[in-house]
């Protein structure tokens, strides 16, 4: 095989740039992420092709299916280049109009453009949409722009140039030095400095070493990794190969959840392409360095996100964590030195090598450098993937990028870090994105799930939800996690059902202390974080459940009694219409009345009332 050279890479880059700037050619970047697939983007894409053909525009318009664009709630969506127009929530029926109006008559279709949730005005230009404008896409630099199934596109965006530089110009130790200089820390959540991690594994001599990519994105509410794999799989491969060079590894695995079929498909395509260009496999770029990557599909166990459990799983065993030491850098997969990095971390490596560690560390706070990708979801207007510089405040993420809370409700808390994280209340919203700062308010950076919760959310129920999650996902090996979290859950269930006892709070705290101090792995050690953060910031809600037998947010059915606030009731009757048990008495032009005896606390009326007249 002839090896690809830096010159060839540069030529491919130029070719791509020329392609994008060809005059009179339009590119339609239609999102092909999981979210948009689910809402029918493939059908829209087919319709576009058809319609374009009908108008004989094949030479002038190129339809590119990209990976996840990030603005997931608005799919199917599309960006028209170079017009800089963003279309949202397209249907097959809209296609004819888009083609004839926009592509033929140069009149963008306004009704499909983004509508600002506050001002209710359409925003014609993609770059003016606050959701995008305020982001700093470094990790996600290729999202929505390239075809993830094309290695040419990736190379066109400086892809594999970092690798090329590393292989031809740098010593392994220099790679690690650059990583250390960049200050990048593990994006999986714990925030361990990546350069350090690599240096440990580099120090251990072994004929075989492994580079693993953790794509077992298990935190509920997190989908950054899936999006990166779907949108820019080569970036991960390039990062892994550079890591392999740094520690002198020969084999790599991407441990991916089997729930992510699209990501798996695209990564496999990327691996095949990289191999065919000699960017993976034997003698990469003719340098004598060999490294190859395979995908290992998980089988559904959250605990396999824990590094030792993940390695056991690749070995074909039960994903049960084992004690450290020995650390994976010394004895990891198959007892060989191993590094494990998260998808997001690895996706940054190519650019760090190309631009230098200093470049990367120019952004961020004292101890947290670069950018961080978050998956913003829950009770927020703009749901999707956001990447911001470290140091951005949560408030800015929720309100400026996220567009605030829908239905004029109030923000109650933001949940960060999944089952290992915590809930940050409204009055701490000015905390900035920084590993240490976030820890100070009782959460963790985590992998990046940001779930916004409005005032309808019961925080005790949220604590219960996370414990239920942990309890189901505990591997069962160590006593504190297996038995302790079960007891915590039992107590919280009891509280939510109205049987809380005065001593329950102390008991939960004692359990938390013991589990945190003595559990075997990270899953258990952090399992109490959600409940502790709720106790810290929303203790009154706990007390209301236990002592007053009330659920202030009206989420816990056993503790809720619904009644109509007469002065707010507009006598519309919607509540009576939705009640499944006929417990709402209403007559035309009369204020509704809820028969508490018959009410089953299903909340249908509460949700249905347009006037917040039920409480």
């Amino acid at each position: 095989m002839t090896h690809i050279t830096p010159t060839k890479l540069e030529a491919m880059r130029k070719e791509y740039a020329a392609r994008l700037t060809q005059p009179h050619i339009r590119h339609l970047f239609i999102c092909g992420g999981t979210g948009c697939h689910a809402t029918g983007s493939l059908k829209v894409k087919d319709a576009l092709h058809e319609e374009i053909a009908k108008h004989g525009l094949e030479e002038k318009v190129r339809v590119v299916e990209t990976g996840c664009n990030g603005f997931c709630a608005l799919g199917p969506l599309m960006v028209v280049h170079p017009d800089n127009v963003f279309y949202q929530k397209m249907t097959v029926d809209d296609v004819a109009e888009i083609v004839s109006e926009h592509l033929v008559h140069e009149k963008p279709v306004e009704r499909l453009m983004y509508k600002d949730p506050q001002s209710k005005k359409r925003v014609p230009l993609f770059s003016d949409i606050p959701f995008f404008a305020l982001q700093k896409p470094w990790t996600l630099r290729n999202k929505g722009i390239i075809n993830p199934e094309s290695i040419e596109d990736y190379i066109g965006r400086e892809g594999y140039m970092g690798l090329s530089k590393v292989l031809l110009e740098m010593e392994p130790s220099q790679i690690i030095d650059e990583m250390k200089a960049s200050g990048i820390r593990g994006r999986g959540g714990a925030g361990f400095p990546t350069g350090m991690k690599w240096s440990f594994a580099a120090q251990n001599d072994s004929d075989i070493k492994y580079v693993l990519c953790n794509a077992d994105e298990g935190d509920p509410g997190a989908f950054m990794d899936r999006s990166i794999l779907e949108a820019d799989p080569h970036a991960v491969l390039e990062g892994m190969t550079i890591a392999a060079r740094a520690i002198n590894a020969t084999e790599g695995y991407i441990y991916c959840r089997s729930e992510y079929p699209l990501a798996i498909k695209r990564v496999q395509i990327a691996i095949d392409q990289a191999r065919s260009l000699g960017l993976l496999g034997e003698n990469i770029m003719g340098t004598g360095f060999s490294f190859d990557i395979s995908i290992y599909q998980g089988a559904g166990a959250f605990v396999c996100g824990e590094e030792t459990a993940l390695m056991r799983s690749i070995e074909g065993k039960r994903g049960m964590p084992i004690p450290r030491p020995p650390f994976p850098a010394a004895q990891g997969l198959w007892k060989k030195p191993t590094i494990l990095n998260n998808v997001e971390t690895l996706a940054n490596v190519g650019q760090i090598m190309l631009n230098g560690g200093k470049w990367y560390s120019s952004v961020g706070t004292e101890n947290s450098k670069g950018t961080k990708v978050f998956a913003l979801s829950g009770d927020v207007n703009n749901i999707g993937l956001v990447e911001v510089p470290m140091g951005t405040s949560l408030r800015s993420i929720v309100y400026d990028i996220g567009g605030g809370i829908p239905k004029k409700r109030k923000l109650k808390a933001v949940q960060l870090g999944g089952p290992s994280g915590g809930c940050i209340p409204e009055d701490h919203m000015d905390v900035v994105v920084d590993y240490e700062e976030i820890a100070k308010v009782g959460a963790i950076m985590g992998s990046g799930g940001v779930i916004v919760m409005d005032d309808k959310t019961c925080m005790v129920d949220m604590a219960r939800f996370f414990l239920e999650f942990i309890q189901e996902e505990s591997c069962g090996k160590c006593t504190p996690c297996r038995e302790g979290t079960r007891r915590q859950l039992e107590i919280l269930e009891r509280i939510c059902e109205g049987h809380g006892k005065p001593e329950d709070i102390t008991l939960i705290e004692e359990l938390s202390e013991m589990i945190t101090a003595s559990a075997l792995c990270g899953l258990g050690q952090t399992a109490s974080n959600p409940v502790l953060s709720v106790l810290r910031h929303f203790r009154n809600e706990f007390e209301a459940h236990i002592f007053d037998k009330k659920c202030p947010a009206k989420r816990c059915p056993a503790l809720v009694e619904f009644k109509v606030i007469d002065e707010r009731c507009k006598k519309c009757g919607k509540c009576a219409a939705v009640c499944p048990v006929g417990a709402v008495e209403w007559q035309k032009k009369e204020v509704a009345k809820i028969n508490t005896e018959a009410c089953v606390q299903c909340m249908s009326c509460y949700s249905a009332c347009p006037f917040d007249a039920i409480d």
Binding site: A301, P325, Q471, S474, C478, R482, E483, R486, M514, S518
Partner: protein
Amino acid sequence: MSTLELTINGKGYAFTQGETILDVACRNDIVIPTLCHLKNTTPTGACRMCVVEVKGARSLVASCTVPASAGMEVQTESPSVVKSRKMNLELLLSSGSHDCLLCPASGDCRLQDLAFKYNATGKRFERTKPKYSPDVSNPFLIRDFSKCILCGRCVQACKDVQVNNAIDYGYRGSDAKIIAKCDLPLGDSDCVFCGECLQVCPVGALTLKKARQKPRICETEAVRTTCAYCGVGCQMNLHVKDNVVQMVTGADAVPNHGSLCVKGRFGMQFINSPERLTTPLIRKDGELVPAEWDEALGLVAEKLGTYKAENGADSIGVLASARCTNEENYLFQKFARAVIGTNNVDHCARY
């Protein structure tokens, strides 16, 4: 090289590279309680009972897995350690049915000992109902899952010590259970009943079949001896009460280091078999009939003497026994050679 030293409870102890905190403590007779730790296997760190406080560490550390390091300051019974262990015990005690009154392991149960030591009960929590019913399918032992604390020692014993690979963890989280084959009764599994699991179980989850109404192990006297089955010569303890071998355990010495096979552990019933011969028999009129020792011995001596005298010593043969002791075999061959006067002595080495 300067000697490596750490302090435990304020006192300095030397250690060698690679020793865990628990190793150092054990060597110096400092008791750190464990439930899952099993000698000669890789520590699993499952039970978290052996946690200790190390100055500067973020949380408590499991002494069975954390290597000793120079200058480390360890507290083995600090208030936070004791609190953690007590809660750990409370959790275990409340899960399943740990009724010491009717448990065959009572008196030989680490959970019981530790509950006593740390004054722990399961009363602060609602007792969880046992999820799995006991397995009584085989003639040797009972698996009572309601007493199982999932320490995993049996799994290690089966996989790492005996390499029989008959059991493993099954399911996960609070559903976790030690399973055989496809969660089948042991009798239907690949188990060969070496009983290693029984021996290492620190609680009453694995007990001898029909153990109740028999002496508990703590009531018996252990006599160390050598197994009389195959040629490996396993060292074993015969647990005796009322002149009956009540049970057998492996002794921790060469060559078997505590292990036994199914015959050694469960095959000693013959000692107290009612079929044992208790009186000499002499063939009279074609029938074997009971006789006095004196008569029988006299008859043998007389007959052997007669044949020797009449047909020569070589008309007599002695078949000694690979089942008997060296001392006895020495006497048998000496009897043949020195008393009878023949080299016609052999034994069953060939079978």
